[in-house]
């Protein structure tokens, strides 16, 4: 399944400062659908190059990271249970506090 993954608000620093990643991720063996629950560890393993604790905490993202699936807060689509589809765009963005 082709996905576009984007990192912003400083999270891109965890993956060699690359903001946009076009990736191919398959559902877990035995599952027909890919969920965010599966995508997060996939990202940690395959894209995050340093300080993985700045990306994930437990089985979710760390506090202060917004997850957007097709420009929509993942809280609105079931958070970890959000089903992903081909060509979906998932954005991980760290909130900024500067001014």
């Amino acid at each position: 399944m082709k996905l576009t993954l984007e990192f912003g608000g400083g999270l891109e620093l965890l993956c060699d400062s690359v903001k946009i990643h076009h990736v191919n991720v398959e559902p877990q063996a035995g599952e027909s659908k890919l969920t965010m629950k599966h995508l997060l560890p996939w990202v940690r393993t395959n894209l995050i190059k340093e300080r993985p604790e700045m990306f994930m905490k437990g089985d979710s993202v760390r506090p202060g990271v917004l997850v957007l699936v097709n420009d929509c807060d993942w809280e609105l689509s079931g958070q970890l249970d959000t089903n992903l589809e081909d060509k979906d765009i998932v954005v991980f963005i760290s909130t900024l506090h500067g001014g």
């Binding site: 912003g8 608000g9 400083g10 903001k19 340093e50 604790e53 700045m54 760390r62 506090p63 202060g64 990271v65 917004l66 957007l68 420009d71 929509c72 807060d73 809280e75 609105l76 954005v91 963005i93 760290s94 909130t95 900024l96 506090h97 500067g98 001014g99």
Partner: protein, 479 residues
């Protein structure tokens, strides 16, 4: 030149200035009172309108045009003729018009932080005709603020930001009441300040302030226009408005402190907070004038470097929210007693950290280091700052090995030390190893690591290159 006891020109000018400002103030009060009267008349008339419509159709209703006492015409919306002229280009907008402007003139806005976001926001808020604008800040203007905090000028360096910003706002629009709150915004004074305003603009730069301002707005039921910018990115949304979410609905748990970068460390391109600050002004204007669709439940994400703006839908108000949730709405008392620094593990002050990780004998002052250099002590100086910092300025004869790459480049240190050993005269002692960074924090971490890896003589320079500039070479650039 003074002659025969006549007043000097500067004194006269001063008196004129003072009289002018009194005149402006009186005129503002008159127009406020006129607006109030107008409103009262309109309300009364609306009640009677049904019966009296026909009787008043010839123009005797005070909602319609009436000659006012000074003979000019009052168009019936509370806008004096100089206001009509000043705001004419806004009045000409069908979507904004007289009603939008009249609403704005009756509205008040509080801007917390007169920095990168607050500067452009305040300029537009003062220009557009809010009735009253409050400014909170406890900082003073510094030279390294001016690239982004465009409300301040060189003449105000060293003076309070609130004074500088208020003067700029008054210079643009003397008809707006500008209130200076020259104090730090804390739970102890927050309610008293915010209560006096209709809209709050969060233009601060740290995590505890963001939670504090949010909670204060929730307790008092004020809409919160929130903006943030860092590096080349910005974010904007409106919290606690029209049943929308508050900051805590989105971020119930504060981020780890290591995730919170500051402009002073990570840098920021001046125009980026400028853009977000302008958008904050726009949102405040929309709310104040009751025109348009404010960013409630939506968030704008701005990426300057790729030139992209993304507008995303965010979650609604959370019933479980600890600030605005159904079950346990925050009370004024709870708010005042809440420890925001403890909750976020971050101080309000954005002053840099001062770590103390190493024993005294593993550290050396910049002065002492300088003395050793002068004496010709053979040594290697490793600068562990990022390469782009090193390019700004560096100490002579240092080698740059950024802290994250230290592990992979230890061999460079070993060979540099060996070279020094070969070239030096006395045979008994090894060359010493010093580590420097910007402020003396990362250098301590580096020395800790170097000790572990067998470089037992490594010492860090206390206070980094900043202390070098302060104590050894005042001409050395700081940033």
């Amino acid at each position: 030149m003074e002659s025969n006891g006549r007043p000097q020109a500067s004194e006269i000018l001063c008196q004129i200035e003072s009289l002018r400002s009194s005149k402006d103030e009186i005129e503002r009060q008159i127009s406020d009172l006129e607006a109030q009267l107008q409103q009262l008349n309109c309300d009364e008339n609306n009640c009677r309108k049904a019966e009296e419509d026909e009787v008043n159709s010839n123009g005797s209703s005070s909602c319609l045009i009436l000659p006012s006492e000074n003979g000019s015409f009052d168009p019936g919306h509370g806008l004096a003729s100089d206001m009509i002229y000043r705001y004419s280009r806004q009045l000409l907008l069908p979507a904004f018009g007289v009603q939008g402007q009249a609403n704005l003139l009756k509205s008040s806005v509080l801007v917390i932080g007169a920095g990168g976001l607050g500067s452009p926001a305040l300029l537009y808020l003062a220009a557009c005709g809010f009735g009253r604008i409050g400014i909170v800040d406890h900082d003073v203007v510094e030279l390294n603020n001016l690239h982004r905090q465009i409300i301040h000028t060189e003449a105000y360096i060293g003076r309070p930001k609130v004074e500088s910003a208020a003067a700029a706002c008054r210079a643009i629009n003397s008809t707006v009441e500008i209130v200076e709150h020259k104090e730090a915004f804390r739970a102890t004074n927050a309610l008293g300040i915010v209560r006096k305003y209709d809209i709050v603009v969060d233009a601060t730069d740290n995590v505890p302030s963001r939670y504090l301002i949010n909670d204060c707005c929730v307790v008092l039921g004020k809409p919160l226009v929130s903006g943030a910018a860092l590096g080349l990115e910005g974010q904007l949304t409106v919290y606690n408005y029209n049943g929308g979410p508050c900051y805590r609905c989105l971020f119930p748990t504060p981020p780890p402190t290591t995730a919170c970068q500051r402009c002073a460390d990570s840098g920021v391109l001046g125009v980026v907070p400028g853009i977000i600050g302008c958008l904050q002004a726009l949102e405040a204007i929309k709310i104040g004038s009751v025109v348009g669709d404010p960013f409630s439940g939506r968030m704008l994400l701005f990426d300057a470097i790729s030139g992209r703006i993304r507008i995303v839908k965010i979650r609604g108000r959370s019933l479980q929210c600890e600030a605005c949730g159904e079950n346990a709405p925050l009370t004024e008392k709870q708010f005042q007693e809440f420890d925001y620094e403890r909750f976020t593990q971050t101080p309000f002050s954005t002053a840099p950290l001062k770590l103390s990780l190493l024993p005294v004998d593993a550290r050396i002052s910049s002065k002492e280091y300088h003395e050793r250099v002068v004496k010709g002590e053979p040594h290697v100086l490793v600068d562990v700052r990022p390469a782009h910092h090193y390019k700004i300025v560096s100490l002579p004869n240092s080698i740059n090995i950024p802290f994250p790459s230290l592990e992979a480049r230890l061999h460079e240190i070993s060979s540099a030390l060996m070279k020094k050993d070969e070239s030096k005269n006395s045979a008994d002692s090894n060359a010493s190893l010093y580590v420097v960074c910007r402020r003396g924090n990362e250098s301590q971490r580096a020395v800790e690591y170097l000790h572990k890896m067998g470089f037992s003589s490594a010492k860090d320079i206390i206070g980094g290159i900043q202390s070098w500039a302060h104590d050894v070479d005042p001409k050395f650039p700081t940033y």
